[in-house]
């Protein structure tokens, strides 16, 4: 993680530690504020709760960051997550296959749906908004049809709930009972950050968003790479599907709508431009944490729900505004 942090910051601005800390400013201010406001906030269990609450949205946001950097958008991430959870349910519970098959099926199904969205966008030139809106509806319906409009429980696959709620880290360091879901989030983020900053796929992702025609005229097979990006993003939704299914120990076919907005919001709060061409995974992770820390803090403070909503709206605007001002300064 540290490595990525450094490289990303260096790449953007090439100014030192100071800069790095500032990027976290809103997050840190919020953390300090809530710690002072409620003594319950800094409890280990609550911190772990926040981490866990970020895992699903964080993973989705990482996936959608890729698509947004290409200049696209993916509205289907929420229902795709649900769809992959249902697929895992069918494979593990209905077909009774071993755990690994379920994992592969979920991620594979996600990548496949991403592939379809990508093909619609790249080859058939359907605007991303429409292609993924259509996918969102199709997957929502399909999840209901496949599951028979009822949850699929994973009671026959005992290891399944460990995917997100177990703690590998906790087994090694008992004082750090970080749930696997969070671990997965960081692994996914690290891998994707690596892909984005170090590999050809990542470079083309940026090039597509920056100037697709220029990339095409450079001999880059833009359609192919775009499809790759959507497929990768879909596969990542599959990971999110596994995390949420494991956490609820069930695939809830009706869930998922609305998650796309949270994920996109995290991405944009994290400084990635919806116009494409620029963005970072670190930013997205910070964005996702800003959202979950905010919600958790307000809940801990027992702020009435309608006021929670208002404050969240204000803080999101403020955080992004502060970030804009900071960037213009430096």
């Amino acid at each position: 993680m540290t490595m990525i942090v450094q490289s990303e910051v260096k790449k953007r601005t090439s100014s030192g530690v100071h800069q790095k800390l500032l990027a976290f400013a809103s997050l840190i201010i919020m953390l300090v504020f809530f710690s002072l406001a409620s003594s319950n906030f800094l409890q280990t269990s609550n911190i772990i709760g926040i981490l866990q609450a970020t895992s699903v949205n964080g993973v989705l946001a990482v996936g959608v960051t890729l698509v947004i950097i290409t200049g696209g958008i993916d509205l289907s991430v929420g229902t795709l997550m649900t769809f992959t959870a249902v697929i895992a349910g069918v494979v593990l519970t209905y077909l009774g296959m071993p755990l690994l098959f379920g994992i592969v099926a979920a991620i594979g199904a996600g990548a496949f749906c991403g592939f379809i969205s990508g093909t619609l966008v790249a080859r058939m030139k359907v605007p991303p908004f429409i292609a993924t809106l259509g996918m969102m509806l199709i997957l929502k319906g399909t999840s209901l049809v496949i599951s028979g409009t009822k949850p699929i429980y994973f009671n026959n696959t005992p290891g399944f709930s460990q995917i997100s709620t177990g703690s590998l880290i906790g087994q090694v360091f008992p004082f750090l009972p970080i749930p696997n879901g969070v671990l997965i989030l960081f692994v996914v983020a690290t891998v994707v950050a690596f892909i984005l900053n170090r590999t050809a796929l990542g470079r083309y992702t940026f090039a597509l968003g920056s100037n697709e025609e220029a990339a095409r005229l450079s001999g880059v097979d833009t359609d192919f790479w775009k499809i790759c990006v959507y497929s990768l993003s879909g596969g990542i939704c599959g990971v999110a599907g596994l995390i949420i299914a494991s956490r609820l120990n069930s695939a809830q076919p009706a869930l998922g709508l609305g998650y796309e907005l949270d994920a996109i919001a995290a991405v944009v709060i994290g400084g990635t431009s919806l116009a494409g061409g620029r963005g970072s995974i670190l930013g997205t992770i910070i964005g996702a944490f800003i959202m979950s820390v905010l919600l958790n803090g307000l809940r801990i403070m027992s702020v009435a729900q309608e006021w929670q909503t208002i404050v969240t709206g204000l803080i999101i605007i403020l955080a992004v505004y502060a970030d804009m001002v900071r960037r213009q300064r430096t």
Partner: protein, 506 residues
Amino acid sequence: MVELIRLESIDKHFPGVHALKSVSFDLQTGEVHALMGENGAGKSTLMKVLSGILQPDGGTIRVAGNDVTIPSPHAAQALGIGMIHQELALMNDLTVAQNIFIGREPRKRFWRLDEDALNEAAREIFSAMNVSIDPRAEVRTLSVAQQQMVEIAKSLSHKSRVLVMDEPTAALNDREVHELFTIIARLKSEGVGIVYISHKMDEIKRISDRVTVMRDGAYVGTVSASETPISKIISMMVGRELDNTQADIPDLSGAPVALEVRGLSRGKEVQNVSFSLKAGEILGFAGLMGAGRTEVARLIFGADRRDAGEIIVHGKKAAIASPKDAVSAGIGYLSEDRKHLGLALGLDLAANVGLPNLGRFSNGIGVIDDAKLGSIARDYIKQLGIRTPSERQEVRLLSGGNQQKVVLAKWLLRNCDILIFDEPTRGIDIGAKSEIYRLMQALAQQGKAIIVISSELPEVLRLSHRIAVMCEGRLTGILPGGRETTQEEIMHLATQRRVEIGGEAA
């Protein structure tokens, strides 16, 4: 003559770049004052300060004797200062006339805009400029040259007292340049002061009264245009003398044919174009605006779909359906529109240079060797004299000419057998230009086949081993290169319209 503008000790910093170092400049009524300097010298930046786009860090601006601050382009307009921008700044989705009069639309009752009056006024401006562009056409459908004419028309419509022209002729050919100069002469006689930025030395001699030279963001000197020899101006700009001789045309009779094109056609833009190109040969393409040269290049490169025609590379028919196919067949294409088609402006220099070449810099699983890419990018920065703080600078922050060099570097690195350069020296300073000429000649000597499309006849004449001339989508003839071909011969072929041919046939 009365002093219109006086800029004194203007300073401007960008992150990592000291773009203007205490520069001074003045402009009188009825004069054409040329501003010269290498790419990245700070010419555009100085003029952006004058037209309210950038705020200086220090220095004073006086307009007609009064100290002023110019906080916005709007304020500049109010002071009578108009500017033709180097980077075309048009609204692609609006029509030509709508672009020209944006912000100043004639109105009718009930808040309605008067479209007819708008189009009529635009038509008048164009007819005064002696060009024919449909005021109702959407700007995105125009070629770069036509868009440049729209920019000029737009700045003329302001009836400014001061007109800044930042490389207005970069995309124009001789005939259009001639029209522009007629306009400039008229404005001059009306007492308008004109700041003229160009890298074309002959133009400076033809129209300007005084020349101010900048180097590395600093003021070098101001001289009279008529009394100063060009070589003196050049040495002020680059600090050395340039070799300006034409290379000999090599004997290519034994060389293999690298590229052959047969019956290339697409709609009305390209009709039945056939030619062949030998390894080691430089084939120039001349023609008027919209003659179809760019389109021929795009068809060869697979950027557009051709209606008919064969492309034969190294004696084998190449199935080129996309730029990817063309690149794998060893063809590179340097586009004439660097901003929209050549560069990913938001990415850094190294990433742009790497774009067609990532295969070479990545391992089996696609991990890029950024260190290697970076060091190669630095090599090109040195070789081409790209003015940039580092290879990590975003391309959009480079000066126009330096951006063009980045596009060039990208294709040089790709090392294609067949290279198509579409207006390769557009906006490139004289020093770098001769460097690019030298590079092309060196590439040809290495056995590469090169097509150069250029609207500057001297450039075509100087570089080409043979010269293909196009008119209205047809290839009207191929002339030998070298000293025996004259500009007149080329112009004759370039204006050989369909009617005339029809007449001959009948």
